[in-house]
């Protein structure tokens, strides 16, 4: 398992990428604080803080962009700058790619948990189920990483792939109806509920908080199933691209 020895270094590289930290940790913290300040103690109909829902949605939303980190690391390590060096190393390239993906996912999860901690300790949001919420963050991060990699493996230019992941991230936030309500038709309804990873994980957490464990597991399992289905597709495309 020589690949294992690279994992600490990959994690270290990621934690020193200050631009990513700024975008995925600094900006959310600022936004969360701002929203907390703006919303004050307004209550939602459900009896929870209005800000609770917003914070939950925001923390979830940032997981949609976890794929971009994985994507850029894979791109620079396996397809451009360091390609020659990495390809001459005596380890399994697919496994290395997989380890980067895992690292990126874990990294994104850690950032998410940090945000949750900040929201609870500083902004006073009380999360009902830490483990359940983390599990859903993880699922969302996994799905996003897989989707990003599928996009990257299936288009030729990295720039296009980057744009597509941005569209994936922003697109699902828009489709979830966070900016403005989506038109009321079958397709849009599907994309605003079971067809949208963001609403799925968000719904799972909210359902669990409301004590509807069955509904919660259903939504989370849909997400897990999606990643199980997409994973072989990613492997297939990745193997083709890496050769």
């Amino acid at each position: 398992m020589r690949v294992l020895s690279t994992v600490p270094w990959t994690l270290r590289r990621m934690s020193r990428d200050y631009l990513v930290l700024l975008l995925l940790l600094g900006v959310p913290i600022v936004l969360l604080s701002l929203f907390s300040y703006l919303m004050g103690n307004a209550m939602a109909e459900s009896g929870r803080l209005l800000f609770h829902d917003t914070a939950q949605q925001m923390i979830m939303s940032f997981q949609l962009f976890s794929g971009s980190v994985v994507m850029s690391y894979l791109y620079y390590d396996l397809f451009t700058e360091k390609r020659m060096r990495i390809f001459t190393l005596p380890f399994n390239k697919s496994l290395y790619a997989f380890s980067i993906m895992l690292c990126g996912t874990v990294y994104s999860l850690v950032l998410g948990v940090l945000l949750m901690t900040y929201a609870q300790l500083v902004l006073g949001v009380v999360w009902e189920h830490w483990v359940w919420m983390s599990y859903n963050l993880l699922l969302l991060s996994v799905v996003s990483s897989i989707v990003s990699l599928i996009l990257m493996f299936s288009v030729r230019s990295f720039k296009t792939a980057e744009r597509l992941t941005e569209i994936y991230g922003v697109g699902f936030i828009v489709l979830a109806g966070l900016f403005f309500p989506m038109p009321d038709n079958a397709v849009m309804n599907f994309l605003g509920s079971y067809g949208n990873p963001l609403t799925l994980s968000d719904g799972a957490v909210t359902a669990m908080a409301n004590g509807e464990a069955g509904e919660a597991w259903l939504q989370a399992n849909v997400l897990a199933a999606a990643s199980l289905v997409l994973f072989p597709l990613m492997l297939l495309l990745g193997r083709r691209k890496m050769r």
Partner: protein, 228 residues
């Protein structure tokens, strides 16, 4: 006018730019109207954010010129920095003004409720110039196009959030609601409120005036010549 002409050519040469310049504005025309807030249809309410994005994308050309060294060549050529900058800005401004016109005219033809469409157009044009000037000043700070763009994105989010574009300004609590008056986006939403609900004409021109003064300020700051 060589630089003007080529700035236009280059702006349309990039596929992502094409999406920003044509697809998004067209999409904006067809977005629905909300019952409660905002008063303008969503596409028009968010159009300011789009203008901010388009402006930074267009001015990325200036960073490219600097990183690729084109600026060095132009520094040696018989052309002043002022004329280089103004020709580029003129090209970008033409694109933005055209975009504003298309969006407003499209809305009128499609039958969107725009209050006073002509005034809305005037306001958009004013804000387009402010957005452009802000982007120019921002771009002057950076060497890398990517980093400038990513950091500016967060600035756009904050600006639009605090300026009342994602959130009704009325909801913002007292001390902050005064502070945000220094943001250009506040004056855009202020102007848009006038367009939909009417009021003292002077208030509308005040909003435009502030936007134009901001344009001058940011252009002054952004006109520094940097070669490296």
């Amino acid at each position: 006018m060589t630089i003007f002409e080529f700035a236009l050519k280059r702006s349309f040469g990039n596929p992502t730019n094409l999406i920003f310049l044509s697809l998004f504005p067209l999409a904006a025309i067809f977005l629905p109207q909300s019952e409660l807030w905002p008063a303008l249809p969503y596409g028009y309410h968010y159009f300011g954010i789009l203008l901010l994005f388009v402006a930074i994308r267009l001015t990325a050309i200036l960073i490219e010129d600097r990183t690729s060294g084109i600026v060095k060549r132009l520094a040696v050529a018989p052309i002043t920095h002022f004329s280089y900058l103004s020709q580029n800005l003129l090209a970008f401004a033409c694109i933005l003004v055209l975009q504003c016109t298309v969006v407003v005219a499209g809305g009128v033809l499609y039958g969107q409720e725009l209050g006073q469409p002509l005034m809305l157009l005037v306001l958009y044009v004013s804000f387009a110039f402010t957005a452009l000037a802000m982007a120019v000043a921002w771009v002057a700070l950076y060497r890398s196009k990517e980093i400038a763009f990513l950091v500016y994105m967060t600035i756009i989010v904050l600006l639009s959030l605090l300026g009342g574009m994602l959130f009704p300004v009325e909801m913002i609590p007292e001390p902050l609601s005064r502070v945000i008056m220094v943001l250009p986006t506040y004056w855009l939403t202020d102007g848009m409120a006038w367009v939909t609900s009417g009021g003292d004409l002077l208030d509308f021109w005040l909003a435009n005036g502030v936007l134009w003064l901001y344009t001058i300020i940011f252009l002054t700051l952004g006109s520094v010549r940097k070669i490296h």
